[in-house]
């Protein structure tokens, strides 16, 4: 565990992480831990602990958050949100925590392979369009069903879909990630936990 420095603490951390103002009631967290008890990822990676992550965000401790490997394991299944007694939308918090990590160069390897499909979606209007071989397989399956050989998405729809990405600056944000140097991650919530990693 590296030494904690004063500059690692930030009392505005919660507002910085929740940059889109989507998790307005985080301060109501009771630290009851139902999120963790219901988390399928915590069952496999015991050092992943949503309760501890919320605690760190509220207390302003950034030392373990950004370079954490654990935050990339969340499935976004939203079981935490379902059982939360004060309805904290933890998945939206996780999404924004990952933005903060990405912008510092952490976890790029966990987003770039998926963003490859996002770039392709801008050409096709559909997400997870496979390569040429996969496309042929889909066309064969669809024609067996006597459906159109490809899902009907109009040229106009694809154009508008792509333009929305350009106009909101999302495309530039994604291209910026492509060119960033990657920083290493660590399992940073291991302290006091019995794990086999």
């Amino acid at each position: 565990m590296p030494r904690e420095r004063e500059k690692d603490w930030d009392e505005n951390l919660y507002k910085k992480i929740d940059r889109y103002d989507l998790v307005q009631n985080l301060e109501q967290c009771l630290q009851c831990g139902k999120c963790t008890g219901n988390c399928p990822v915590a069952a496999i990676t015991p050092s992943y602990n949503p309760r501890a992550i919320i605690n760190d965000i509220l207390s302003g401790d950034i030392t373990r958050l950004l370079d954490s490997e654990e935050i990339w394991r969340c499935f976004w299944c939203a079981n935490c949100y379902r059982v939360c007694p004060v309805d904290i939308h933890y998945p939206l918090l996780m999404m924004q925590l990952r933005y903060a990590a990405l912008e510092e160069g952490y976890g790029l390897k966990y987003v770039q392979p998926i963003n490859k499909y996002a770039f392709r979606a801008m050409e096709k209007g559909l997400t997870f369009v496979p390569g040429q071989k996969g496309i042929e397989k889909i066309m064969k399956l669809r024609s067996q069903l006597q459906a159109t050989s490809w899902p009907e998405v109009s040229e106009q729809a694809i154009k508008e879909f792509c333009e929305i990405f350009e106009q909101t600056g999302a495309k530039a944000w994604m291209e910026n990630l492509e060119n960033m140097p990657e920083k290493p991650l660590r399992l940073s919530f291991l302290e006091g936990r019995i794990t086999d990693e």
Binding site: Q24, V153, F161, A170
Partner: protein
Amino acid sequence: MSNLHITTPQERIISAAQRIGEVPEKLFLFRSCTGSMEYPGTENSIKEVLKILEVEVVMDSDQTCCSGYILTCSGYPPEPSLAITARNLALVEQRYGLDTYMFCNGCFGYNTELSHILNHYPKYKEMANNIIAQYGYNYQGKTRIRHVQELYYLLIDKIREKVVRPLNGLRVGVHYGCHYLAQQYGILDEGDLPTFHEEIIEALGGTPVFYKERRMCCGYAVGRGFTHKESVVEPHLAKKFDSAKEEGVELITTCCPGCNVALDREQPALAKRGFGPYDIPVIDIAQLIGLALGVPIWKLGFNANTTPLDRVLNKLGLEKGE
């Protein structure tokens, strides 16, 4: 600070009749990327089933992907997804004035969540409407977002009457998928112990099997199937399949093509890593309803499955080409 999450005046669980109201004569079916590419039989089966249930289906080629999946992978900021949600839903509002029915839990969850944000944060609604105005759209939040499974449940008696190929006690384990059950308000059943799929299975003449991990996530959300397959997804799925195997599940049904990919395509990989082996075919609940209601089997698109359905079809005395 607003406490919009706390004071939302909605019931946690409501009946299908409250959720949908009158059975619609016509509905807008939202195209799912995975449901039309990986498993085109899903989309086809839904259309066939709704035809038998006398509900007209409308689709539109100007509708695009909901864009929620990669958003939740933190692949891009939420602005494009908010605008795309507003665009797709405004299209339904303006052209058809119908309710929007999803058949993918992803589309359902993301559209519900993003439209909730649009409806509760004026700044995001304005941002989205400013962008889509150039294409002639204006999102007002009129179309209601529903899942087709809610309609099946509402029409369960009609489905029961129309069964022509009863499932003869086939042991079916269901998988609900998180992004339906994790909605906190206004869903059909209690997220901890849902039973409405089991009731549908019973209506089709099958034996619903309550396996231990039936409530558990498929593990493929937010791209973890790409990035954490070995460290998290496979051990997680093995737990699920072990409990299904223990209870003698012969078939798993889903209501989300994304979950279907995870549960169906992963089985050979799990066997290679020393789990299982498992041989439990996985299909959409619409495909199973279609099967029971007598839709020709070639129209259900079982050819897309990695884990073949031959044993299930044999047990029911059916042929693949029928």
